[in-house]
């Protein structure tokens, strides 16, 4: 008898799972506060990612055209135009550099877009050797000899005057060709990614709405975290000498070293990270993002509060860093504010890195441990 009654409990609860809901679904009970992940992905695709690549493409296009014009009629003015176009294109890149998946992801020998066009620091010897030899391969693993930061080195120079830079170009025409090839390479790669997003990938992205490894939510989330950590570890930590084994700060490791725009770019990058968190477009239009997703899950409200308090602390710490001189110089000098900023970045990591994925149930690896 005992067996039977336990059995009926078992069968009852199991059948409830499969039959119970069938009756419930049409009874107009309170709507589940389910989250529409497709709507979130649509917002990211249409209001953040595509516009970012769109803007980037127009900037890289102008940059490429300008490098050709520079070769035809080199002048200090043209050099300055080129520099401004580079700054503008590199600023746009900060809003597009977190989406290294799908068409911008790794494929075969090609690494993610950020590695292909955003590797820093640039290798001066590799660049000079390529120019001296007159041959280069923009598909190989020498990613520190191409991309934005290689162009930056060529047009901003390392402590050289405009005349010296122009003279370097004049003395070896390969220098122009290399510059143009680099700009074209960036433009091509960005164009390829943008075309994919304008084409079939956008729908593929929106429809892949699970939370498993390889789902769009997981891909976007992983790259979001990686991008955030890159600010902390590579744009600030490494130049500050934060790695074990480093015996002193290494200011020359900052991003955008030659232009001195490091701090400005870091600010843009952080702003872009904030936009992803909020699901906000660059024009200020707020949509459904990770923040809205968290509102719908267990423990989410508490995490949103903690995260945004810390985000404010990061912004305050960043504002406290003087706008000039350039980051590299500040690192070589008094770096109290930078150390404080680094600490605030560090405190932020756990909210983005583990708390968020845990609450959202996003799988970040392809095989799961069952201890979790």
């Amino acid at each position: 008898m005992l067996n039977r009654s336990s059995l009926s409990i078992l069968l009852l609860s199991l059948s409830a799972l499969f039959i119970g809901f069938a009756c419930d679904s049409n009874s107009g009970g309170d709507p589940s506060d389910d989250f529409d992940r497709q709507a979130m992905l649509r917002n990211y695709a249409d209001n953040l990612i595509e516009p970012a690549y769109d803007d980037l493409k127009s900037k890289t296009g102008s940059l490429y055209t300008a490098t050709q014009a520079f070769q035809v009629a080199p002048s200090a003015d043209m050099l300055n135009t080129l520099r401004n176009l580079w700054l503008s294109a590199y600023t746009s890149w900060q809003y597009a550099n977190a989406y290294n998946f799908g068409p911008a992801g790794e494929e075969g020998l090609r690494k993610g877009l950020i590695e292909e066009i955003g590797t820093f620091p640039a290798s001066e010897p590799k660049i000079e050797n390529a120019i001296a030899a007159g041959t280069w391969n923009l598909e190989d693993f020498n990613r520190d000899a191409r991309g934005y930061l290689a162009i930056e080195y060529l047009i901003f120079g390392k402590g050289q005057s405009d005349d010296e830079i122009l003279a370097a170009f004049a003395s070896n025409p390969n220098r122009y060709d290399y510059l143009i090839a680099l700009a074209e390479d960036i433009d091509d790669r960005v164009n390829e990614v943008l075309s994919a997003w304008n084409g079939a990938y956008r729908d593929e992205f929106v429809q892949n709405d699970g939370t498993d490894a390889g789902s769009s939510t997981s891909l976007l989330y992983n790259e979001f975290v990686r991008s955030y950590e890159a600010i902390k570890n590579f744009k600030l930590g490494l130049p500050l000498g934060k790695r074990p084994g480093q015996t002193q700060p290494e200011p020359q490791l900052v991003e955008a070293y030659y232009s001195g725009a490091s701090l400005e770019m870091l600010e843009h990058h952080l702003t872009a990270i904030g936009y992803i968190w909020y699901g906000r477009a660059k024009n200020g239009q707020d949509g459904i993002g990770f923040r809205e997703y968290l509102e719908k899950v267990e423990g989410g409200t508490a995490l949103i509060a903690e995260t945004e308090t810390q985000l404010t602390a990061v912004v305050v710490a960043l504002d406290a860093v003087p706008g000039a001189p350039p980051l590299a110089e500040q690192i070589a000098g008094d770096k109290t504010q930078l150390e404080a900023l680094y600490t605030e970045f560090q405190k932020m990591t756990r909210y983005f890195k583990s708390d968020m994925s845990s609450l959202l149930g996003i799988a970040i690896t392809f095989s799961s441990g069952d201890g979790d």
């Binding site: 934060k242 084994g245 583990s354 845990s358 690896t365 095989s367 201890g371």
Partner: protein, 463 residues
């Protein structure tokens, strides 16, 4: 009570049909074959064993090292061959030993990939070595008809039923905790995350679903072996086995495990059921052969009633003592957590090898600081420089792995010229969607601590 002992002994050596054992042999062989092929095809040999520069060791098995790439592929190749042999019953004893040793070896390489499922498969492979599962429907019988048997001692089947019982019962009993039953955690996190599943996704959107699944899961695990053992409930129970494991298989990335359980639980079916299965299979297999060769009798694939009824009692005091000790271990070891203070879900002291499956949602961020004793300079480690995503994820919430990584960092940076490095870690862990907290004392120098059975006093309280 000698009478009692005799009764149990007699029961255990009673002759029963070999058919269920044949089924199990084939199921495990097929599963291992499939799972190993899948593992290799997904590129996991590289990702798990070859690419990482550091491997987390099992306590007591620190000596297990990954072979060089070629060696690892040979191991997986041999694993494929041996599981094929086990499935077909060819050179069975040798194949079963090889299968057990190689599978266990691959599991022991890196603690990161520990799964209760793998532990279970390892155990079943080990137990298969002890039983004569090749004495019917096997190529060994085809080779040596004299070894064929229709009956075997009951214990050779009972040990697998017992092991399955231990697994399910513990998996269920650990679900009897406040978070699981009252808060429906972690299912409240996992279920809505799966609401895009076809056909059943909408069920996962209902608020009550996590509660129902939590309770049903607990009741299922605790009692399923009872329902499977009783013939009147067996068909229904097996239906729930299929439904339960299919659901968990859809929801979680647990690979072939659902199939393993759906296959292994067949061992609870009656002798007659298995005999019908194999008699049907033997007809199917031998029909085309018979037509071609006009030979009536294929020793390897005879109907069971045509086999010799004689059977060896398979009694060996060595095997008996081993099995008694083994099952004593199986029954006691999962409860060792009672000897440790604190919340086991937080400390994970005594958490592994206990059939605690999918019980909590836990994740952490671990930041390691390496300090040069001479200069006093402290640097922050970028974990991904040494660990893959899976390793980092598992490490960041498990104290013993944190300790191992700290010791690795000490050695690594010592070689890089950091003098007498001290390593500390700031580890924030979130458990079942609660705000993250410090898991361990962030000031303790981990290089001064050795892992052991004793309670880790440097783990902080979760309250």
């Amino acid at each position: 009570m000698p009478g009692q002992k005799l009764y149990i002994e007699n029961w255990l050596i009673q002759p029963v049909s070999i058919a269920p054992l044949v089924t199990l042999r084939v199921v495990i062989g097929v599963m291992l074959l499939f799972s190993t092929l899948r593992f290799v095809a997904l590129g996991w040999v590289d990702d798990h064993y070859i690419t990482p520069v550091f491997h987390f060791k099992y306590f007591g098995f620190e000596w297990v090292e990954p072979l060089p790439a070629t060696g690892l592929y040979i191991v997986h190749g041999l694993l494929i061959i041996s599981s094929l042999c086990v499935m077909l019953g060819l050179f069975y004893r040798l194949a079963a030993i090889v299968q057990f040793l190689l599978f266990t070896y691959t599991e022991l390489i890196d603690l990161t990939y520990y799964l209760n499922h793998y532990y279970f498969v390892s155990i079943v492979c080990g137990l298969l070595v002890l039983v004569p599962a090749n004495r019917a429907f096997s190529l060994d019988v085809l080779r040596k008809p004299a070894i064929s048997r229709s009956k075997i001692s009951r214990w050779t089947i009972f040990i697998f039923q017992l092991q399955l019982g231990i697994v399910y019962f513990h998996a269920g009993i650990w679900k009897v905790n406040y978070d699981w039953l009252v808060n429906a955690l972690p299912l409240k996190i996992w279920i809505p995350a799966n609401d895009q599943l076809p056909l059943i996704g909408w069920i996962f959107q209902q608020k009550i679903t996590p509660y129902l699944f939590s309770w049903a899961g607990m009741l299922y695990d605790v009692s399923i072996v009872l329902w499977l053992s009783w013939s009147r409930t067996r068909p229904w129970a097996y239906l729930t086995v299929i439904v339960f494991h299919t659901l968990t298989g859809l929801m979680f990335q647990i690979g072939v495990f659902p199939l393993v359980m759906i296959g292994a639980t067949l061992i609870f079916f009656s002798e007659q059921w298995h005999e019908r299965l194999w008699n049907w299979a033997s007809d199917t297999i031998t029909k085309p052969l018979r037509f071609r060769n006009r030979v009536a009798d294929f020793p390897g694939f005879q109907h069971l009633e045509n086999l010799k009824t004689q059977f060896a009692t398979h009694r060996s005091s060595l095997i008996t003592s081993f099995l008694v000790l083994f099952f004593l271990f199986q029954i006691l070891f999962p409860w060792r957590y009672l000897l440790y203070p604190g919340n086991i879900f937080w400390t994970e002291e005594g958490y592994r090898f206990c059939w605690r499956v999918m019980l909590m949602e836990k994740a952490g961020t671990a930041t390691f600081f390496v300090k040069d004793a001479k200069t006093g300079r402290e640097g922050e480690v970028v974990n991904s420089e040494f660990l893959n995503a899976h390793q980092e994820k598992q490490m960041a919430m498990q104290p013993d792995m944190i300790l191992q990584f700290a010791h690795f960092l000490k050695k690594h940076y010592e070689q890089r010229g950091v003098s007498n490095p001290a390593v500390r870690a700031e580890v924030y862990v979130t458990l079942n969607a609660r705000p993250s907290k410090l898991l361990i004392d962030p000031n303790v120098d981990l290089t001064k601590i050795r892992d052991g059975w004793a309670h880790k006093t440097w783990i902080l309280n979760d309250k």
